[in-house]
């Protein structure tokens, strides 16, 4: 994780540095704010990694001589095979969004569908 942490810090430094340079060259606020936020975003992740002690964590994937057989049985994660909720959620979002264009009558069913899908996703992810 050390490489990832360094990567995030370098990107962050670049964004903040270029943003500051841009500000003093142009005094143009929109671009400077965009560049500063570009610098802040990876910093948030890097700080979170540092706080959680992930920077110095020894993971098999970061070990050049690691042997896959030594990690046998280690749980990688939980992966669903199928789910209908994503397509239902997007249908809800499209309906709710289209209400801005075609009339508010679409808003209620759109939000209801989206809420139903979110509830379904939450329930599904518990199993």
């Amino acid at each position: 994780m050390r490489t990832i942490s360094r990567l995030l810090w370098v990107i962050s430094g670049f964004g903040l540095g270029v943003g500051t340079l841009y500000w003093f060259l142009t005094y143009e606020a929109t671009g400077a704010v965009l560049l500063w936020f570009f610098g802040l975003m990876p910093m948030i992740v890097a700080l979170w990694m540092w706080r959680r002690g992930l920077v110095s964590a020894h993971l098999a994937e970061d070990e050049p001589e690691a042997d896959p057989s030594a990690s046998a049985g280690e749980v990688v994660g939980s992966f669903p095979l199928m789910s209908a909720w994503p397509i239902i959620a997007v249908l809800g979002v499209v309906m709710a969004g289209a209400s801005l264009v075609y009339g508010l009558i679409l808003l209620a069913p759109g939000i209801a569908l989206l809420g139903y899908a979110i509830y379904g996703l939450m329930r599904e992810s518990r199993h």
């Binding site: 994780m1 490489t3 990832i4 990567l7 370098v10 990107i11 964004g15 270029v18 841009y22 060259l25 142009t26 143009e28 929109t30 671009g31 965009l34 560049l35 570009f38 975003m41 990876p42 098999a60 994937e61 970061d62 070990e63 050049p64 001589e65 690691a66 042997d67 896959p68 057989s69 990690s71 046998a72 049985g73 280690e74 749980v75 990688v76 994660g77 939980s78 992966f79 669903p80 095979l81 199928m82 789910s83 209908a84 909720w85 994503p86 397509i87 959620a89 997007v90 249908l91 979002v93 499209v94 969004g97 289209a98 801005l100 264009v101 075609y102 996703l121 599904e124 992810s125 199993h127």
Partner: protein, 546 residues
């Protein structure tokens, strides 16, 4: 239902019988199926965008011809640009990333499979809204260009629901890109196989990491701009309306803060593709792996500081700053060319179809890149602003570069995805037609631009030096279309008369070539030891020097 997946070096039996049929595809969370759905949907959008381009080229083949009305022409180039950029090239890259990244890093799936499915459906839904915005919307389709500049895109100038649907559609596609970016980064950072250090990642995966980071940086400001534009149009806001105290130039800043990194969001996956292909068909390792990765990171970082070179002629930006940054980005791009040439140098080059398309990419992108350096210079930019020179430059980078790279990817990984080979003979015909057609179409547009023909016009007067280049360009578009039709036939023929590909028809280097074609559920029955950035090669040649 979810299943716990464990790391195991021993062959595993499939956990469940594989499901088939439409419902299995609609509800799938398997990264391979989602990747294929992304690629197929994006290619369908490419066919739509291509048909629109053919209509425009037919209209412009000779002066005075009126195939479509002025307003319809405006809709044609608006939807063509939007479809090709947001619905074809970028999502096709996402499709490849979805399919390949878990395989290349040795993971069983993407980190968040449901989020992955959600991304795809956001993209598909957004894409349909964009198409509706042009052709099925009451009161006028979207006709304000793919940049949707204000005040042209404000309700006063662009009435009707078309622009609103366009905004909603693009916003959904942007959300899909953000979710995919989160998924890619989490997968690469946390789901790599033992021994797959960051400095052993395949170059395609590295390029997708940078692409994902760029997407996360660049899309939110644009989504904010689109939301403000929708508020302006529908709820009486004045964010970008100069008559209400708003500032249209701020829209341009927000849009191009997406728009220029977007160019690299489109091209970086292709850089990754050709970098996977060239060493394999040169029978050599990649020349300068570390330098290549650092150059990719430099391109990604610098691309966030060049957005306002699209605004040189507004007079509202600091031209020297953006000119310097834009010229600087040519340096890491040049390093990549040295990497590619160095990888081929003294190699045993085999000109199979993926390699042919990669060569086509190098030649076309070089022209696009060099003309990009020209445009980074404000005096030249002022001279050719809003002319066909820009259209030619843009298409040399995006079509000659990105699309040729994507065709290379299709010919390279189709055997892995389907277990079937595409025809080598037809592939060469496709390459010849596309390469010839592309250059016939877009090289004359440099001449048109230098002669002063403005872009986005439905007609032009005869006798101004525009006639012959336009005719040649339109003939070229026909040749391009023929190439795409032969490609579709090749796909159909590979299904009709399948030729088994085997697990590794090319002697590939990265981990996806160490599993079956197509790969099983959860990708690997066993993982090889990873000792370099070429694990599949190491597995086949255990005694070879790394």
């Amino acid at each position: 239902m979810s299943t716990l997946v464990e790391r195991s070096p021993a062959p595993q039996a499939p956990m469940e019988p594989e499901r088939h049929g439409p419902v299995a595809w609609l509800t799938t969370t398997d990264h391979k199926k989602i990747g294929i759905m992304y690629c197929v949907t994006a290619f369908a959008f490419f066919l739509v965008g291509g048909a629109l381009a053919d209509t425009m080229r037919t209209e412009l083949a000779e002066p005075g011809r009126q195939l479509v009305s002025t307003q319809t022409y405006n809709t044609l180039f608006t939807i063509h640009g939007t479809v090709m950029i947001f619905l074809f090239v970028a999502p096709f890259g996402s499709g490849l990333a979805n399919y390949l990244i878990p395989l290349q890093v040795g993971a069983p799936d993407m980190a968040f499979p449901r989020l992955n499915a959600l991304s795809y459906w956001f993209f598909a839904g957004g894409g349909l809204l964009v198409l509706l915005s042009g052709f099925a919307s009451a009161g006028g389709g979207a006709a304000m260009g793919w940049t949707a500049y204000t005040p042209l895109s404000e309700a006063r100038m662009s009435p009707g629901v078309g622009p609103d649907l366009w905004i909603l559609g693009i916003a959904l596609v942007a959300v899909a890109t953000l979710l995919t970016g989160v998924n890619i980064l989490t997968t690469v950072f946390l789901l790599r196989a033992p021994g797959m250090t960051m400095w052993r990642l395949p170059i395609f995966t590295w390029n997708m990491v940078v692409t994902a980071l760029l997407g996360l940086v660049a899309f939110p400001p644009a989504v904010a701009a689109f939301a403000l534009l929708l508020i302006d149009r529908r709820l009486g806001g004045h964010a970008f309306d100069p008559f209400g105290g708003g500032d249209p130039v701020i829209y341009q800043h927000l849009f191009w803060f997406l728009g220029h990194p977007e160019v690299y969001i489109l091209i970086l996956p292709t850089f990754g593709v050709v970098t996977e292909i060239i060493p394999v068909f040169s029978r050599k390792p990649l020349f300068g792996y570390t330098g290549f990765v650092l150059a990719t990171l430099a391109i990604g970082a610098l691309s966030t500081g060049v957005w306002a070179h699209h605004m040189f002629t507004t007079g509202a930006v600091d031209n020297p700053f953006f000119s310097a940054m834009s010229l600087l980005i040519a340096v890491p791009t040049g390093i990549k060319f040295f990497n590619w040439i160095g990888s081929m140098w003294q190699g045993k080059i085999r000109m199979a179809v993926p390699m042919l398309f990669s060569m086509g990419f190098l030649l076309n992108f070089l022209i696009g890149g060099v003309t990009g350096v020209m445009l980074a210079s404000p005096p030249i930019d002022f001279q050719v602003a809003d002319s066909y020179f820009l259209v030619a430059h843009f298409h040399y980078t995006m079509m000659g570069g990105a699309v040729f790279g994507l065709f290379a990817a299709i010919y390279f990984w189709h055997p892995k995805m389907t277990g079937r080979m595409l025809s080598e003979r037809l592939g060469r015909v496709v390459f010849a037609l596309l390469f010839l057609g592309f250059n016939l179409t877009f090289w004359p547009q440099f001449i048109l631009g230098m002669r002063g023909m403005p872009r986005r016009i439905v007609d032009y007067a005869g006798g101004l030096g525009f006639d012959t280049p336009n005719l040649v360009s339109s003939v070229g578009a026909g040749v391009l279309t023929l190439g795409v039709l032969v490609f579709l036939y090749d796909l159909w023929a590979s299904r009709r008369h399948p030729v088994a590909a085997g697990d590794d028809p090319w002697g590939g280097y990265s981990l996806e070539w160490a599993t079956s074609s197509p790969p099983p559920e959860r990708n690997f029955t066993s993982l090889p030891r990873i000792r370099s950035e070429r694990p599949a090669y190491d597995m086949r040649h255990p005694g070879a020097p790394r």
